[in-house]
C-alpha cells in the first residue's frame, strides 16, 4: 500500500510517500503500526485530532477498513481557497 503525507505531516515524517507492507485491518491499526516504528512516526501521529485521512483519495475516518485499499494519505486539516 502507498502511504502519502502532506504539509507538516510530510515534514515530520521526512518523506512525501512510501510503500508500506502491512496487514493492518483499519487506518487506526496502520497508524498504531507506524507509531511503533520510529520516533518521527510517533511524533507525526501524536495527536490524531489534528490529522485527517484519505483512503484511495476520498476523505475518510480512522476506523475505515483497508481491505483492497491502494493508497492512504495523512495530512492536517485543509486550508484551501
Amino acid at each position: 500500500m502507498d502511504v502519502l503525507y502532506f504539509a507538516w505531516v510530510r515534514e515530520r515524517i521526512g518523506a512525501p510517500k512510501e510503500r508500506v507492507e502491512t496487514n493492518a485491518a483499519t487506518v487506526m491499526d496502520l497508524v498504531n503500526e507506524l507509531r511503533t516504528r520510529e520516533e518521527r512516526y510517533a511524533a507525526a501521529f501524536a495527536d490524531l485530532s489534528a490529522l485527517r485521512v484519505a483512503v484511495d483519495q476520498e476523505l475518510s475516518d480512522f476506523d475505515a477498513p483497508l481491505k483492497d485499499v491502494r493508497e492512504v494519505a495523512f495530512f492536517p486539516p485543509m486550508t484551501g481557497g
Partner: protein, 147 residues
C-alpha cells in the same frame, strides 16, 4: 463544469469574460477570487500551496456536483493554483451562473466553504520572521454546518 488545478497564474478578467460569454439563458454570474494578502503584523514573503494531485481534482468535482444538485445553476468554473505565490497574487477563483441571482450566490458560497475545508490544499506562509503552516480556522469548519 470546468475545474483546473495549476501552478501557472490565471487571468481573472479573461476567465470571467469567457465564463460569462459561454452561458446561455443565464441572467446571473457570480465570481469569487482569493488573493494572497499581507499579514497583520509580519511581512509575508512567499505563500506555498501544497496539494494532493489526483485527489484534489476529485474533491473539487464532487463539491461542484453537489452544488449542481442543490441549486438551479448553469455552470461552474473552479481554478486553484498551487506552488509559490506572493502577496497580491490570485490564489483561486470560482464562477457560477444561474437564471436567478440567489442560486449563483448560494452555490458560490457553498463551493467556497467546502473548497476551503474539504479540498486537499495546504498553505504555508514564509515571513520575515518565521515559516509556518496556516492553521485551519474553526469558523471555516463551522461554515459547513449551514449547508
Amino acid at each position: 463544469m470546468d475545474i483546473r488545478v495549476q501552478a501557472e497564474p490565471f487571468d481573472l478578467g479573461a476567465e470571467t469574460n469567457a465564463f460569462a460569454a459561454r452561458q446561455s439563458g443565464m441572467g446571473a454570474v457570480v465570481t469569487f477570487t482569493g488573493i494572497v494578502r499581507d499579514l497583520d503584523n509580519d511581512v509575508l514573503d512567499v505563500m506555498e500551496i501544497e496539494h494532493y494531485p489526483g485527489m484534489t481534482e476529485k474533491a473539487l468535482e464532487k463539491i461542484a456536483s453537489q452544488a449542481h444538485e442543490r441549486w438551479d445553476i448553469g455552470d461552474i468554473l473552479i481554478i486553484h493554483r498551487h506552488g509559490s505565490l506572493r502577496p497580491d497574487d490570485l490564489i483561486m477563483m470560482v464562477a457560477t451562473s444561474s437564471r436567478h441571482r440567489a442560486d449563483a450566490f448560494q452555490a458560490a458560497e457553498f463551493l467556497m466553504d467546502f473548497l476551503k475545508s474539504r479540498a486537499p490544499f495546504w498553505k504555508k506562509e514564509k515571513t520575515n520572521v518565521s515559516t509556518d503552516w496556516v492553521a485551519a480556522k474553526s469558523k471555516d469548519e463551522d461554515a459547513l454546518k449551514r449547508w
